[in-house]
Symmetry: C2
Amino acid sequence: MRIAVDAMGGDHAPEEIVPGALAAAQIVDAEICLVGDEIQLNALLSDTTGAVARAAVDTRRAGRVTVVHEPGVVGMDESPRAALQRKRRSSMAACVDMVRDGEADAAVSAGNSGAFMALATTRLRNIADIDRPAIAITIPTKTGKAILLDAGANADCRSEHLAQFATMGICYAEHLLGLDSPRVATLNIGEEQCKGNALTQATYSLLASAPINFVGHVEPNAILDGHVDVIVADGFVGNVVLKTIEASLQFFNDGIKAGIASSHLARLGAWLMRPVFRSLAAKCDWAEYGGALLLGVNGVCVVSHGRSDRRAIREAIVVAANAVEHDIVEEMRQSVQLLSALPASTEVLSNSPQV
Amino acid sequence: MRIAVDAMGGDHAPEEIVPGALAAAQIVDAEICLVGDEIQLNALLSDTTGAVARAAVDTRRAGRVTVVHEPGVVGMDESPRAALQRKRRSSMAACVDMVRDGEADAAVSAGNSGAFMALATTRLRNIADIDRPAIAITIPTKTGKAILLDAGANADCRSEHLAQFATMGICYAEHLLGLDSPRVATLNIGEEQCKGNALTQATYSLLASAPINFVGHVEPNAILDGHVDVIVADGFVGNVVLKTIEASLQFFNDGIKAGIASSHLARLGAWLMRPVFRSLAAKCDWAEYGGALLLGVNGVCVVSHGRSDRRAIREAIVVAANAVEHDIVEEMRQSVQLLSALPASTEVLSNSPQV
């Protein structure tokens, strides 16, 4: 197995990407191919100080981490269109091309996610019967994990798209989370069928008649309480939910830190509570859940957070390796055949530009 | 000032509504008129045990809490349409009618919010130039409070509606929060103008050309960090954000409780941290922020959470009294005249049923 990693993509590239790749190389059975400026990458790989360096020596010796020279970088603020049209190749495009050309089994990038999705959809093309690829993210819940999709690939969607997301989410949950007959729900602002907007109501009708374990509309608390396994939403709402959870936990965290700073007793209390806070932090640590799969394209693509550190990159590579190992693209192709059983909806939608 | 309170509306009505009204009567300069089944209400008011009873005696003696008999109840699951069409009157409808007929200055209900909104919009009618009334909720932030609207009245909106929400939100922030030139933002999944869905992009264009302090798109973290004062969103997204914040804080809270339960040292730590937790809880306590104003109708209507306890009811009445005192409806009428300066947008929207 060979995983192409965009070494130049992300807020902390390539400094954090290289150690992340080295760490991943020690836990996954794959060759990690760092794609980027070979001068910078080799300098980082041959840095002989610290634990990273020792890992580098070991893994390079074993041929587990390699370098492909492609110095062009897609800017974090570059428009997806510009990234597609640029004449000079980029490390990100090279990773996607390697997957397309069979030179790699998966592509991982923490760079400009809009550009990465645009490159993936145009160069790898969608799986047959999938209109819109979706970003699937795992959310920590009280009882385990849930899959939320779309987490941001498609800001405006129709109900057929959400039905396709459901099919892909079920496939993800079955093959990567090992769930049997995962519970599928539409994210909504009320549990009753009649509640919601035009999109969620139309999606409810579609999913209720599909041969899946559809449990109906759920509100955000049901997700975090672990009552459902696969939650579908349009990419705008999915992304808002994701970012609101992150922001709320940060709000709570900052509030506790500020409280501790103003009192010796509270600081002692916090010290005694360290194991509790650590365990919660591990659960809520989005870096651990950093690897979001772009589902619906002909290849494994993992979209990592722009601010990914080495740990997040390691996890993203683990997600990629896991997806390749479970042949998720082929499973997805088979799953979407179920889709043909679903009737089409008729609601109107503004044809709008995507994020 | 006279405030009509739907004593039969809410999960804990009338048991929690009555003490909430009694508590409010002691802090606001108004007559609180409890509308509901007078037998039940008088029984609760003449209960001679406890602090509630003592407050009851004082306030009743002063004529601050009165009872209007109207025993019909709108069910929590009753459709808004059914609530409008029911032949038998209800306590909720009576409250709204009292405002319409000048017998009360404000109506407060913790009952079926869809029915309450339907009653308010049909019986009080919208302020001129307002197409859709919106629910405005105050969100605690690191630096104070922010207004989010719409928090759930309109699941599907057009950009003109969001522009109207902005105008109403500014009026709220100026007159009820005392802010000068409040910062207005569109809730979005990226800060760049080009990011978002069709609705947020069209709204951006409208607001950018309006004579307001528009700061552009914001993501959820900017709200909780206190970077903006008025955030507009369609009622679906606004409601999802609200419920996601609630669910996330509950998730964190439950995680800490579970951690404490399993360790004596952590329990001691939590005891030492009590002031920190209490202060955070007070900030995050949605009961304190329970009174959401329905803006855009010809009357002050406060929509309280269905699960409101006495404290939430007290706060909802305080919000109502504050709104009446600041003559918010008249201020709103004047503010919306600004709207005529805004050009109309052209994007398409599915004409869908409302929540």
